[in-house]
Symmetry: C2
């Protein structure tokens, strides 16, 4: 696949637009202006908007989870792994000139306006992330570096919800620096 693969450029533009403006704020016209192609040509690569969304979610989820699994596969301490995991969300927020939130945070808000295949993709992304967090938290508990009461699955949901929601609030308030402090505070609480 060439670097200037049109399909890739379309996906890049679509992802950027959705992370900033939402699904309904992304149009074939917007993409065409970014990529430098006529909007009718986009239909050659993605006949329907749903096709584009499905492909985009596949790519996003694969990329993200690949990085997460890379972190989990290291020999780092659980606390370090968790910090690195959280920093992925920080990196998204600070990427590019415009502040972006996680693709699946945007789609989660607009979920009831999506069609079936993408709804399941978003849910799978959430579930996959929480599963990774469960693994990470269990390792930290056994290791003694995490000390908290209550179920591990609930704590995983707590962490993931905070990361997705914290991004939204931080972007709106322009307090992306504080988002880092919030994550550190979370780590302190988990460490007990």
């Amino acid at each position: 696949m060439k670097q200037t693969d049109t399909k890739t450029l379309i996906l890049d533009a679509a992802q950027d637009l959705i992370q900033r403006l939402g699904v309904n704020g992304m149009s074939y016209q917007d993409i065409s202006e970014i990529v430098g192609i006529r909007k009718a040509s986009i239909h050659t690569h993605f006949p329907k908007k749903d096709d584009l969304l499905v492909a985009l979610l596949d790519r996003y989820s694969d990329r993200f989870l690949r990085i997460v699994d890379g972190i989990l596969a290291t020999s780092d301490a659980p606390e370090v792994k968790l910090r690195r995991y959280c920093s992925l969300f920080e990196a998204t927020l600070n990427s590019g000139s415009q502040e972006k939130v996680c693709l699946c945070a945007m789609l989660g808000a607009e979920l009831t306006a999506l069609n079936h295949p993408s709804v399941e993709q978003v849910r799978n992304f959430y579930r996959a992330n929480e599963e990774r967090l469960v693994t990470l938290l269990k390792a930290g508990q056994q290791n003694g570096s995490f000390r908290f009461t209550g179920e591990v699955t609930v704590t995983a949901a707590l962490i993931f919800g905070l990361l997705e929601g914290g991004m939204l609030i931080a972007r709106a308030q322009g307090t992306t620096n504080q988002f880092h402090s919030v994550i550190e505070q979370l780590l302190q609480l988990i460490k007990g």
Copy 2:
């Protein structure tokens, strides 16, 4: 103001639609079908869609913060107050037959697609909530019922981000029951 005030009915319908589908998923046509009025008539009460959004955010913020201030004004223990505050978000999630998220969680996601007045309204809602949480957390720290390291403002942002984000995730995954457990887990962590 009569109970069947058309203006009120329009606001009710708009709020319900936005909490379920987002701003772009709410149209004058949708509202007209719910209220039982022609869509052109809605413009009599709210000439532009922005006018409707501004009025809706005013009403929502006033109502919500009035309830919060009512909780703060009681003689309940800080821990009880915080639990009651969090339960407001649970109540929203479980209200009606369709699951709804906080109006300002939806608007936070779509923020960059909104116009100026509403953007500030959403930011003010976030700030007002975090200010109340700061007051509550300080009282709990002095009282000895909350024990956590780090700044109070950061902890307030952590709690608020979790509540707004946790709603989105819970709605998507259909785990509204777990959202309750997440809140209890948060309280345990704050209590130290």
